[in-house]
């Protein structure tokens, strides 16, 4: 039997009034419309209610919603349950900042850092084509752009610890005119996000060098150090200092080199907040690299806007987007797969940052491919289309994976899709000739 009760907000129909003498139970209202099972839409609503409860300091409601979510969440359940688990955790992390304890004044993450070995990372990036798509497209564009050059210098700004380069080295080694000599420079600072290695960058470079030697490609690897005094600072501080060192002389750029700038999952960590009238760090970075006259710039990132200031809109967008990798993993890895849990945990790390933090601690400020393209255009770059060879390579790569992966072209941008949903975009740019 139903009872209609009118309250401040709207009417709520209660199914069992004997239990609900409370006239205005927020939980029931929150789930109005969710009949029977709790599906993704309902979970999304719950998450939003929890977030708003936290923002209003309504601990009771927050706890009630969390309790419900907790019963739904499971890190070894189906896709929705897993996503819920990580979102709930991020919200709790946020709540713990609402009521700070003496232990987390530094705003530390509730997540533990997981370190991988190099070989583990290799497997990690090939689990799903999420990263490999970007690698393949970028390497294809780079290969084309450096045709005819005897020397190539790559400035590698990425978070995947040089996993991209072996296939490029391999391709360059097989060049009919012989391989160019290759230099790769990486910055010493890197955002503290997964995937994390248990070895240093130098070691990674060392192994790459081994491989290049094995393939008879002349190779050099540099780590561009920044100021050691800043070693305790956050990534953004370190990076701002590094920006000042990205000059021709300090990078030892040579006149006969083809300079390649590789930005993979990188721009999102550069702050887009302008302090006063100064340009943002992100735009400043683009200016700097433009000044280096690169032959080509490749930018790869995830195709989603996650930098809104409103928490609710971030939760919604994030929930609807990160469903994609979760679903992809669920398709071919079993419920109790360790790899799947690891991968999801790394995504959970991202969720925690996006949902649980604010201000300068919220380092994940992802923007979509369309917005990025606009930004690049504004900065004076022009897009380069990917050639047919590259596109065919990407297609055959995707063929080798599960059948939900696809690719589409949006103008000059290549987008990886899962079941039709945009996941990762890849673009290539060069300077606009004046």
């Amino acid at each position: 039997m139903k009872t209609e009760v009118r309250g401040n907000g709207g009417s709520i129909s209660l199914q069992n009034p004997s239990l609900f003498n409370i006239p205005l139970d927020p939980i029931t209202g929150a789930l109005k419309g969710c009949l029977g099972s709790l599906d993704g839409a309902c979970i999304e609503k719950l998450l939003l209610h929890c977030a708003s409860a936290l923002e209003n300091n309504d601990v009771t409601l927050a706890q009630q919603v969390m309790w419900v979510l907790n019963n739904v969440a499971s890190t070894v359940g189906d896709t929705n349950q897993r996503l819920t688990a990580w979102f709930l955790r991020a919200l709790i992390s946020r709540a713990s900042r609402v009521c700070p304890t003496s232990m987390n004044f530094n705003g530390g993450s509730m997540f533990q850092r997981r370190l991988m070995t190099v070989t583990e990372l290799v497997g990690y990036v090939d689990l799903i084509p999420w990263h490999r798509f970007g690698f393949c497209a970028s390497n294809g564009a780079i290969f084309k752009a450096v045709e005819g050059y005897g020397k190539v210098h790559i400035l590698d700004f990425s978070i995947t610890q040089c996993m991209q380069w072996p296939t490029l080295i391999d391709a360059l080694a097989k060049r009919p005119e012989g391989p160019p000599s290759l230099r790769i420079t990486v910055p010493s600072c890197r955002p503290q996000v997964p995937p994390l290695l248990n070895v240093s960058k130098e070691e990674v470079g060392h192994r790459l060098a081994n491989f290049a030697k094995f393939r008879d490609v002349p190779f050099e690897f540099h780590v561009k150090d920044d100021d050691p005094c800043l070693s305790n600072e956050t990534f953004s501080t370190q990076f701002e200092s590094l920006l000042t060192q990205l000059t021709r002389s300090q990078l030892d750029l040579r006149y006969d080199e083809a300079l390649v700038i590789n930005c993979q999952n990188w721009l999102r960590y550069l702050s887009d907040e302008s302090k006063g009238n100064t340009t943002t760090v992100r735009d400043a970075f683009l200016d700097v690299i433009k000044g280096l006259n690169p032959r080509i710039i490749v930018v790869v990132d995830e195709d989603c806007d996650l930098s809104a200031s409103s928490l609710s809109s971030r939760i919604t967008t994030c929930f609807n987007y990160l469903w994609i990798p979760f679903d992809a993993l669920a398709t071919f890895l079993p419920k109790d797969s360790r790899q799947r849990l690891e991968y999801e945990s790394d995504i959970g790390h991202k969720i925690e940052n996006i949902v649980g933090f604010e201000g300068f601690q919220r380092t994940e400020r992802l923007e979509s491919g369309v917005k990025l393209s606009q930004r690049m255009n504004d900065a004076g770059f022009v897009s380069l289309p990917f050639c047919e060879d590259t596109i065919n390579e990407v297609k055959s790569l995707l063929d080798e994976h599960a059948s939900g992966w696809g690719m589409k072209r949006e103008e000059d941008m290549l987008v990886l899709t899962w079941k039709g949903h945009n996941s990762v975009f890849a673009t290539a740019w060069t300077e606009l000739e004046d």
């Binding site: 939980i27 304890t101 533990q112 370190l115 391999d170 503290q192």
Partner: protein, 546 residues
Amino acid sequence: MPVDDNSSTVSGDASVSSTGNQNLPLKSTVKKKRNLPGMPDPDAEVIALSPTTLLATNRFVCEICNKGFQRDQNLQLHRRGHNLPWKLRQRSSKEVKKRVYVCPEPTCVHHDPSRALGDLTGIKKHFCRKHGEKKWKCDKCSKKYAVQSDWKAHSKICGTREYKCDCGTVFSRRDSFITHRAFCDALAVESAKTQTNPSSESDPKVQAADSSPRRSPPAASPPVSAPSAITSSDIRIQSSVLAEDPSTVVEEAPAPAPAPSAPPAGLNGSSSSSVSLVSSGCNSSSSSVFSNLFTSTTVSTSIHPPQPLAPALPLVGLNGSCSGSVSLVSSGASSSSSSGVFASLFASSTVSASIQPPQTPALTNLIRADLAPSTSIEPISLCLSTSHGSSIFGTTGQERRQHAPPLQPAMSATALLQKAAQMGAAASNASLLRGLGVVSSSAPQENLQWGQAQVDPDNASIAAGLGLGLPCDGSSGLKELMMGTPVFGPKQTTLDFLGLGVAAGGNPNASLSALITSIGSGFDATTAAASVRGGDYTSKDIGRSS
């Protein structure tokens, strides 16, 4: 005898489709001309067989004894055994027209006589492949086949076109093989072996057996810079997380090759000492979910699926690092599974291995002050859902939902809501407080807890808490009452508000019921009474409110 489809011939001759026991073509001595597939000889006789006939295994049936055979040759051999008279022994020597076959599936392109296939076996295979069920599965990969010969052919080549690394790992894709090869330890070892001039190369230092820090092989020919600052900051992060685990993961970790095996071993040794998971009598599934939430990020080879907390504590830290900070406290009554939520919330946010949740006064104040507004059941703006409405929860969202299977939580949605509402304010107050260690006793009755908390407060802290200026919704009078001891002091308050002579520190039950009474008299009975009603409340207490 199964009835067959009518056949039509290109040449106009009527022809009856045959089952097994009719005349079959002689083996022609003339070498058959092989037509292009799908473009049959125009003079050929078109035969349409039903699916049943097509798939029948024993098509050739002896007319004498009705025994069926898969092949015509076998049937002939068999017929010899019947000692037929010479006349009947031979088949008809009539020149038989070439026969072509159409696919019985109407939607198929080969259903059209002009696209018939010339070979009976061919049409059988085609039908199975395209329109049949794939019953044959390769056991190496996941490919399935409908035709057995296809399956056999695949099995022969499955796994042969592979890339094998020196370390033994096998890859089916070239790019993953290349990437692995580049970073594999095996390559490092191999290149070290091929070194003629060890002093100029750093490779010997990279050998698997060597456990020297890989930070900077100084003689490395690729010019690498000095150890970068980032590495030390990595360590720092872990050490801040690591409470007391001395066996650090990072810099001095064993060299690559032993790396996969060593850390887990070190893990299990070190982590068990630093992991603290306290679970006393709490069987609620929610707690186990949370314990797994916190454990699953520390991934190791021995992750366990969620199990009740009571038995084995499956926490194993990763690389010996972070397990120290996981401390899940779920003690006390199991009646409120919510206790696990906030208890763990505040416990695990502590980065130490300490079990005790923090009990700083500031925190207590915050929580208490926070509890105040929440005890008045304020309708949270339901407009949240409506304002976002169709734009967010619209078709896109719905569409995506369809991809994911619907949830089956242990409880139905309705049950969850009811239970959550039941927990209400009383439970939340108590459990929060308990989780913070504010309330020392672990009495099962949450209402008692709550009553105790009210009656034995720290005046100063309450005042301070109030002074924090956190938003207080709802009727302020109710809030202060719930707090139990507003600024004026317990004794005074209870006398003033309740009109009763209940002293502070008195019998908790009495004070609580008195409180209820006063609430009932002074305020909206339904709201207040319901708000304090926990699941464990006995009705007679409520009944006193009037």
